[in-house]
Each structure stands twice: as C-alpha cells, then as structure tokens.
C-alpha cells in the first residue's frame, strides 16, 4: 500500500518559491526496497490520474517490463521515442534528453533513476539527465530502489551480500520534492515473485535464493522506511526556515580525511550519514604530502574515486599541503570550526607505526574535537603504504650517487687514518657523507641505507680487527649505535628541510603565477585582451591547448584556440559541433563538463565556466589528452586564475556599461542642443512659407504677376531649404544612433560625386562646377548617403560663400591607402582664425547668428562627424592663388575583377 506524503496531484503548477523568476522543476521519487514492489506501476497509475486533469504528462522512458499490467498502463500515455545508440555492435535504447527538452511537457516520467547511460549519451548517469530536465523547469517522476542510494550502498551490501554498482548521490535523493515509498509486505512480494510476476520462472528461482530471502527483505524494508522518514524530517526542517538562515546557529561540522585506501570509501559514507543525521556541514580534507606527487597512477585513481564519492555525498573538498598530517588536520579543524572528525582504523601494521600516532597526536593537538574511528572490515590485508612503496624504488642514478659519496668518505677516512687522526674524525666524515647524500638524492631510502652502510664500512675498515665486521673494543657497539642514529637523524632532517624548501618553492611559484596573471589582467584593455591573457597564462601553467569562448549577447562566440607550441593538432578538431555542444552546455548550466567529467565525456576538452556573480562570462576549454583529470594542484591554481579572470571581466563589463551610459548622456545633450537650434531655424522658413501662401490666397486678385512670381519663388526656396535641413537631420540620426551601423560599401567616387551634384543648390547654375578625376574607377569604402551629404554640404557652402561666376572644382585622387576628395573654389577665402572653429557645431562664417539665416552652422560639423565615423580626416586649406579647398579622405577599396 503506498504511503503518500502529499497529494501528488497538487504538484504541478504551484508557484515555486525558491526560484521566483525562473521555474525550477520538481522531482518526485517512487522509492522501493526491492524490485517488483510496484514502483513503475504506481507511477504510471498516478500519471493517468494527472493526465485526466488535463496536465501535459508524458512517459520519457519506461523500462521494458514483461509485466503485462505495467505495459498496458504505459501504452495509454504519450511515450517519447527512445534514443538508439549502438556501441561496439550492441544497440542500446536510452532516454532521449534532447527530445524531452524540446517537447517540454509539464511532467515527464523517467524510470530507474540510478541507471547508467550507454557510451555516447550526454551524461554518464541518468540522474544528471533528470537534473537537466528539472533545471529546464520540467517536473519529473522517477523510480529507484533503496540499495542504489550511495550512502546506504555498503549497508545493503553487508545485509544482502550483493553490492550494487549503480548508485546515486544522496543529495539527489534528498533534494527530491516528494518521496513516495512503495511498501508491500515482504511475504506478498515473495508470493508475487513465485507467481512469476517479477521475473521469469527460472530467474525467479535464482532470485529467491540470492536476494529475495525474507530476512533480507525485512531489513531492506526497514532501511527504506527509515530513509524516507529521514527525508521527511529534513524537508520539515528546511521548510521551517530559521535553522537554515540563522548565522548564529552553531552547526555540526563533520570532517573526513581522504586517502587512497580502499577502506576510505566506507569511512566517507559513514561520515556522510553522520553529517546528514546531524544536519551538519560536511567537509572532506585531503592532506597533500610530498609523497602524493610521487605515488603511482593506481593510487591517484583511487584517491580521485574517493574524492568524487565525497563530492557526491555532498562534501566540500578541501586540500592542504604539508608532511605533518595530524598537525595540518588539527589546524584545518580549528580554522574551519570542525566539531567531529571521522577516521578509519587502519590495519595492524600501521597500528604501532603511524596511524595510532595520528590519533594520539590529533587528540593532543585538538583536544576539543570528537574523533570517530571506523573499523576497517573490508579487507584484512593492507596495500603497501604508497609513500614507502615509492621510496623503495631504487633509481640507478641515486644509488650511484650514494655509492660515490660513501667511497669518497671512505677514501678520506683512509687518508685520515694514514695521517693518524682518531676514529672520531672519521665518524664525522661519514655523518657528513650521509648529510650530503640526503641532499643530493631523492627518497629517504638512500639516507637510511647510507647510514647503515657507513656504519658497516666503518666497522669493516677502521675498527680492530680490520676487514671484519667484528669489533673488539666493548665501546664500539655504543659508538655504532650513536653513529647510526646520528646519521639517520641527520639524513631525515635534511630530507625534511629539502621537502619543505620544495613546497615553499611550489607555493612561491603559485603565488607568482597568480600575481603575474593578476598584473597582466589589470593591464588588459578589453574583453578579448583579458581572455587572451588568461588563456596564455593557463597555457603556461598547464602546458595544454586552451580554448576560449566569449559570451556575446547570450550566445557563445566562435572559439579562440591557444595551442601549445609543440602541438601538431589541427585546431579544427576543437571547432566540432560536439565540442561546441559541450561548451554551450557549460554556459547554460554553469557547471564543468567534457573530458574527464560525467557530462559530454567524449569531448576532447574539459570545459569550465568563467562565472561572475550570477552570469557565465566566458567558457574555457582545456584539451585533455588522457583520461586523467588535472592534478589537484593545477586544478586549484587554474580555478584561482579563472576566478581572477571573472573578476576582471566583470569589472570590465561594468566599466563598459558606464562608458556607454556617459556616452549616451553626451549624445542626449547633443541632441537636445540640436533640437533647440533646429526648432529655432525651422520657424523662420515656415513663417515665410505660410505667410507668403497666405498673401497669395487672400490677395491673388490684386497682386501683379511679377509680385506673385516673387512670392512663389520664396515659398519654393524656403521649402527647398527645409528639405535640405531634413536630410541633414536624418544623417545626424543615422550616425548618432550607432556609429557601427554605418552601411559601408565600396562605391565609385565618380558616381557618388555625380549624384551629389544632382542635389546641390539651385543656385549652382551661376557657378562653374567641374569634376576632375584621375582614375574613373577609383573606389572607396563608405556609407554613400552620408558621403553624398558631406559633398552636398561642402559644395553648397562653396556656392553660398563665393560670388556668382566663381569656379568650383571637385577632384578625387588616390594617395597611398586613401582616396582624397577635394572641393576647391576661387572665392574670397576664409581667414585663418575662422578655420579653427569652422567644424564646430553651430559655427557660421562671420559668426552672425540670428534670423539672417546664413545657414544652420550644422553642415560642416556634420561633415566632420561623418568623415570621422568613416575613419577619415576632414581639412580646410587655402587655394592658390585664392579661394578655399575643403577636402576629406576615405579608405580606398581595391576590386577584384573576374570576368
């Protein structure tokens, strides 16, 4: 009988409080304690009820069952076609995430939450698919069995003896909005199984022996009930609110230490359960020692697996560096206000050697801490400690070095003996040798071995009887012991100093890289610059090809690829649709994806989002040539760099926005000024037009034909003037709106000048206007309407300011990369003092403003703005022998002709 927590029909359509702006989907999980309890059946039945209410609910993926009732139920729903993926000759049917996102129903049913997707799907795990559905605002119903929950994995394994591979992180389960436990009596379940309702007869028999034993089922049921109750509790606490927000409330902080040991997984799970029971903060700490870098790939892989497990169980991962593990744990615990530490009890070998020391030291270093020790039952034997395993490895060069040092010491010793020095001198020489040895070799084994060897050699060569390992004098054993321990301690100390120096150097390098990045980013001028600097720094740090996508108006730009020097790859491989899809996904979801992650695993690069407070500013990809993720050290450094990059980017955007605002203010002022002047200038011709028309209408009978003609001409002239004004105003709006919006096209200057000449003032008939072109095919890049406007204004000016009969020459010529267009007249010329202000707004020659209306004073200012928008120059100079030349430059366009 299903236990319902709440009315499931009330699920969709409710306003979502957590995401007021953006609707986040809700997750409902049908939880069973074993296969066959009827999860899918109940889910489908619920779906039917909801469908009757007219809600858009579809079946995204239902496991194909042989149970006829279930199949019958699913057939009545709209079923999303599955994705067929063939991998190594086998075709898999998988849930089609993209189709579901496109179909976008209100609710979607997706069976088997813990399923692992076939190779080639976007995500490795189905719960990631579901997470994406939820983020897209689609409600999801799904099913799971209790043994698939990560933190219960080993408990279930210990009960049933069967460990399950496919698990889901606890937080997925805990974040569900509704959990419905499908509960039936174990007896009924066994009965069902026997009737062949769950598996075929043959399978059923096997299942009865293995898994479906009654006490197994009872235990599983109990776990399921308890877990559900826990979840209800948690929801209740979260909903009650104050706990979550109160900063004064002291929460439990549980710390677990990560290691590469296989038993570590169990410790992590226990800690996770504990933290959820206490509703505390959960941190997993890894102490990186000098041995970590040297440990083999196997150990690194195990460590990564454990790290990921901790992450999945909701832990924050922290890494500290240093060799003194307990001291660092204690330090971190104090700084992080850790209340409880969970540790594994290690095997017998370690008991006296190290780990008990850890616990003891930890207790003394942090007496306020609760320490929980979890027994290691999983394996009775222990893998060799990686540190020792590594230092056991004997390198030929280091051995040779040690031998050389020892031989040299022996030679000096023999010489000292020949000189008749006492043995004490020789001992000192050997201790010095051990010290040097520790300095020049890697690995502690050499210090240890050379300590032992030097005692042996000393015994062999310098004590009576010579050439034997015996010593007559009773004092010698003491001497040997002292010598050995002195050598040993010296060696160890030197090694430690060396390691510390190395760590300090690493830390210094890290600081230096970050500082340099920060300094370079500060100097970057714009967004592309910032991204380029970051990419170059990353390239330097990681020595891998780096790809950057910047974000422009909510879409990703084309990627920039920064290849490492020795790379022979074709950069095209990073431009593929798959790579882009991964980057897009990262942009939309603000999570990492690509190679070495669980999402878009097939991608060549690992993609990170460069994110500011709430938006993704850019996406960066790192080409991964192997399956191994980045070293934690590199990873941390890179994250820090990306953080820096995001900060600078955000600052840059803010600056840009401010610049735009101030520019807009300036433009507004300009426009206001213009409007004021223009409205003034409009009044005059309008008065003249309406006045003249009025006279003509009323007095047409009394006016002489000649007078009438004069009035008509005035009206016509004034309206022509108005038309010109309107054209100028249109040009102004065109360049003001957006400088980048110029419609730049290559145009023949000849055509443009001819067109401009068609539009110049009617008075041009009184002037001699001529066009002189060196090259009739000269082309320049321009927005032709604006350039025609420039020409009209300049030519009109020339006509206006020169007496009738003057000559006006319009010429265009090619000068290097530019076309120079000049309008020369032989009029009276312009005094030098006026030339300076000529291109200012509202400046008119003679500077007489008012109703004399000699022009708007806008013409040349407009010309200047237009030419500058074309990245050209406008100028005025004296004509020889007299007159003025106005001119401007444009960029020449070369044309390919293919006939």
């Amino acid at each position: 009988m299903p236990i319902k927590q709440a009315d499931s029909e009330a699920l969709p359509g409710q306003p979502d409080e957590a995401f007021p702006g953006k609707k986040h989907g809700r997750l409902k999980i049908y939880l069973g304690y074993a296969a066959g309890v009827g999860k899918t059946f109940t889910m489908l039945k619920d779906a039917h009820g909801i469908k009757k209410d007219g809600i858009d609910i579809i079946a995204g993926y239902i496991e194909p069952h042989s149970r006829p009732e279930t199949m019958a139920l699913s057939n009545e729903l709209e079923i999303l076609p599955t994705l067929q993926i063939s991998y190594k000759g086998v075709t898999f049917r998988e849930f089609d995430l993209d189709r579901a996102l496109e179909r976008k129903p209100d609710i979607i049913l997706v069976d088997e939450l813990a399923h692992t997707n076939a190779e080639g799907c976007r995500h490795k795990k189905r719960y990631q698919d579901i997470d994406e559905l939820l983020r897209a605002g689609i409600d999801v119903f799904t099913t799971i069995n209790i043994q698939h929950i990560e933190s219960l994995n080993d408990i279930v394994a210990s009960i049933t003896g069967i460990s399950v591979r496919e698990t889901i992180p606890d937080n997925v389960f805990d974040s569900a909005d509704k959990i419905e436990l499908i509960d039936i009596e174990p007896d009924d379940l066994i009965d069902r199984l026997q009737r062949g309702k769950i598996y075929h007869k043959e399978q059923a028999k096997r299942a009865l022996v293995n898994f479906f034993k009654k006490n197994n089922l009872i235990a599983l049921r109990e776990i399921a009930l308890r877990r559900t109750a826990d979840q209800v509790n948690r929801t209740a606490i979260q909903n009650s609110g104050p706990l979550k927000d109160s900063s004064t409330y002291v929460r439990e902080h549980i710390l677990v230490c990560l290691s590469s040991a296989p038993s570590n997984a169990k410790v992590i799970r226990t800690a996770a359960r504990m933290s959820s029971a206490f509703h505390g903060i959960f941190t997993a700490l890894f102490v990186e020692t000098s041995g970590t870098q040297k440990s083999g790939n196997k150990n690194k892989a195990a460590l990564r697996k454990n790290t990921r497990l901790a992450e999945q169980l909701g832990a924050q991962i922290a890494t500290v560096y240093g060799d003194d593990i307990p001291a660092h744990i204690a330090e971190y615990a104090k700084a992080g206000r850790v209340s409880k530490i969970v540790m594994g009890r290690s095997g017998h070998l370690q008991k006296w050697l190290r780990k008990t020391n850890y616990v003891d030291r930890l207790t003394s270093l942090a007496p306020a801490l609760d320490i929980y020790i979890i027994p290691d039952t999983q394996s009775s034997f222990r893998i060799k400690y990686p540190g020792i395993a590594m230092s056991m490895k004997i390198s030929f060069i280091d051995s040779a070095k040690s031998a050389a040092v020892l031989i040299f010491c022996t030679l000096i010793g023999l010489w000292f003996e020949y000189l008749g020095f006492s043995n004490a001198n020789i001992i000192t020489i050997y201790i010095l040798g051990v010290l040097i040895n520790a300095m020049i070799t890697k690995g502690r084994i050499y210090s240890v071995l050379s300590s032992v060897f030097c005692v042996l050699i000393f015994d062999f060569l310098f004590t009576e009887p010579v050439f034997s390992f015996q010593a007559y004098s009773s004092g010698y054993p003491v001497t040997f012991m002292v010598m050995l321990s002195a050598a040993f301690i010296t060696g160890t100390l030197t090694k430690r100093v060396k390691n510390q120096a190395r760590q300090a150097a690493q830390k210094a390098y890290r600081t230096e890289v970050l500082l340099e990045t920060s300094r370079k980013l500060q100097q970057a001028r714009d967004e592309t610059d910032i991204l380029r600097e970051t990419a170059l720094q990353m390239l330097k740090l990681l020595d891998r090809t780096v790809i950057f996508y910047s974000v422009q108006g909510n879409i990703l730009s084309k990627p920039f690829v920064f290849q490492k020097d020795d790379s022979s790859d074709n950069p095209q491989v990073y431009f593929g649709a798959d790579e882009r899809a991964a980057a897009e996904w990262v942009y939309k979801n603000n999570k990492k994806a690509g190679a070495t992650t669980d999402t878009f695993t097939a991608a060549k690069c690992l993609y990170f989002a460069v994110h500011g407070d709430d938006t993704v500013l850019a996406v960066v990809g790192i080409a991964m040539d192997s399956k191994f993720p980045l070293e934690p050290y590199e990873n941390n450094l890179m994250i820090a760099m990306l953080g820096e990059c995001a900060m600078v980017l955000e600052k840059e955007r803010l600056n840009e926005k401010q610049k735009q605002i101030s520019m807009r203010i300036q433009q507004e002022q300009l426009r206001a000024n213009l409007l004021r002047t223009i409205s003034h200038d409009l009044r005059t011709p309008l008065t003249s037009i309406s006045g003249n028309a009025g006279i003509l209408m009323r007095n047409s009978a009394v006016l002489a034909e000649r007078q009438k003609k004069a009035l008509y001409t005035d009206i016509y002239d004034d309206s022509a003037w108005l038309i010109k004004l309107v054209e100028n105003m249109l040009s102004i709006t065109r360049i003001d709106n957006d400088m980048l919006n110029l419609n730049m096209q290559p145009e023949l200057l000849e055509e443009v000048i001819a067109e401009a000449l068609l539009h110049v003032s009617r008075n041009s008939a009184e002037h001699n206007i001529k066009m002189i072109l060196d090259d009739e095919l000269l082309m320049a890049k321009m927005d032709y309407r604006l350039i025609i406007q420039v020409l009209i204004n300049i030519i009109d000016n020339a006509i206006k300011y020169t007496p009738a009969g003057s000559h006006i020459f319009i010429s265009a010529r090619h000068e290097k990369e530019t076309a120079v267009i000049e309008v020369a007249d032989d009029g009276p010329g312009i005094p030098d003092k006026d030339k300076i202000n000529l291109f200012d707004m509202f400046y008119t020659a003679g500077n007489i403003r008012g109703d004399g209306r000699r022009g708007l004073g806008l013409g040349l200012y407009l010309c200047k703005s237009i030419v500058e928008a074309h990245k050209g120059e406008i100028f005025v100079k004296n004509n020889i022998p007299q007159g003025t030349i106005f001119g401007f430059t444009l960029q020449v366009e070369e044309v390919d002709m293919h006939e």
Binding site: I723, Q745, V752, E755, L758, M771, L773, M779, M897, E899
Partner: protein, 243 residues
Amino acid sequence: MNKPLILIVEDDRAIRKLISTTLKTQNYQYHTAETGEGAILEAVSKKPDIMILDLGLPDMDGVSIIKKVRTWSNMPIIVVSARSEDRDKIDALDAGADDYLTKPFSVDEFLARLRVSLRRVRYDNERLQSDASSFINGNLKIDYAAGCVWLDKEEIHLTPIEYKLICLLAKNIGKVLTHNFIINEIWGNYANDIPALRVFMATLRKKIEKVPSQQPKYIQTHIGVGYRMLRVGDANSLSDFNS
C-alpha cells in the same frame, strides 16, 4: 496610343491632390484609390496604363500590391515613398516596380519619370509588332544577331560581360534594375559582387557615353539601388529638374 489613363494610389489627401492637379494640367486622364484593396479593384476594372503607388498604405503593404498586380499585368508601376531606406526601394523594384520616387519630390521630376515610363509602354508595344533582332536608342544600336554594338555608326568593342550588361539594360529600357537583379542575370548567382558590377558598369559607360559623369545619356545610376537605360531624350528631361 491616345490619352493614357493613370491610376493614383495614395492615402494622403494633400499628395493625392498635388499629383492629380499636376496630371490635370498635363491633360492626362486619371483615377484615384486610397487603399490597397481599392487600388487592386481599380486596376482590374479600369485597366490603367500606368500606376503611381504609395508604399505606405493603411491596409496593405505596397510590395504585396506590386506582386499581385504583376500576376496579370505588365503595366509600369512608379513607387512613391517617404521611406528613404534603400531596402524599401530595392524590395519594390525586385517585386516588379519600374521606378521609384522619394518624398519630397518636385513636380517636374515626377512628370519626367512618368514620361519615361509611358514611353516604355509604347516601346513595348512597338517591339511586339516589329522584329526584335536589333535595338536602336538614339545613336546607340545593338545588333543582337551579330552580337555587335554601334555608336554613331562606329562599332564599339565590348567585353562579353559588358555586352551582356548592355543587352540586359536595353531589354528593360526605362526600368530601374537593382544590383541583385543584374548580378543574378549576368553571373547567375546572388554572390555579393556589387563592387565588380560597378566597375564593369563604369567601363561600359565610358565606352558609350560622351561625358560619362556629367550627363548620362544612356545609362543612369541609381546609387545604392541599381541602373537604368534611358531612351534618348528622356535623359535630358530627367536631369533638368535638379539643377
């Protein structure tokens, strides 16, 4: 052809009155329509010789009116518009309009354009009757059969592309051809090669015009839009009004 019948489609009363008064002074016959619906109705029932069409009508997009009319009639359509963007003109021309006028326009200019278009109608009719193996416009003669072009009884040498250009313009004499239309006809694709077209046109013009830049006799440039071949005699009337 006796007195041509003109259909004025314009929703603004003042402009409609201006155009109709102008036509009356020239003794043209005309009908008016204020909406797109009305325009199509009049065009079907009255069978005008030419249509003056305002693009900004209240009920219908001007371009779609052109397209509709073109389904049954080849009458010249002169577009009048206050929109000064090239795009609008090009769209209208590509839809089948013959010419365009941007407001504000002068009455003289309007009449000149009207005459050019009316002459096209006449030419089309003549051509239907006579053989079309050659083309004569003023001193310019194209012999289609021989593939030669003559100017003032002197053969001029054209490159293949120039010859194609002049034939295309001649066949559509009086009509404004857009850049894209020409490129598509000559090169057969929509590759954006307008600069090259301009250069070809300039060289062609240099060969057939006496003073290319000042007073185009045969080929008129509509900058930003396209080109048109004019009947000799039209050119003078067209260039008068501005200066």
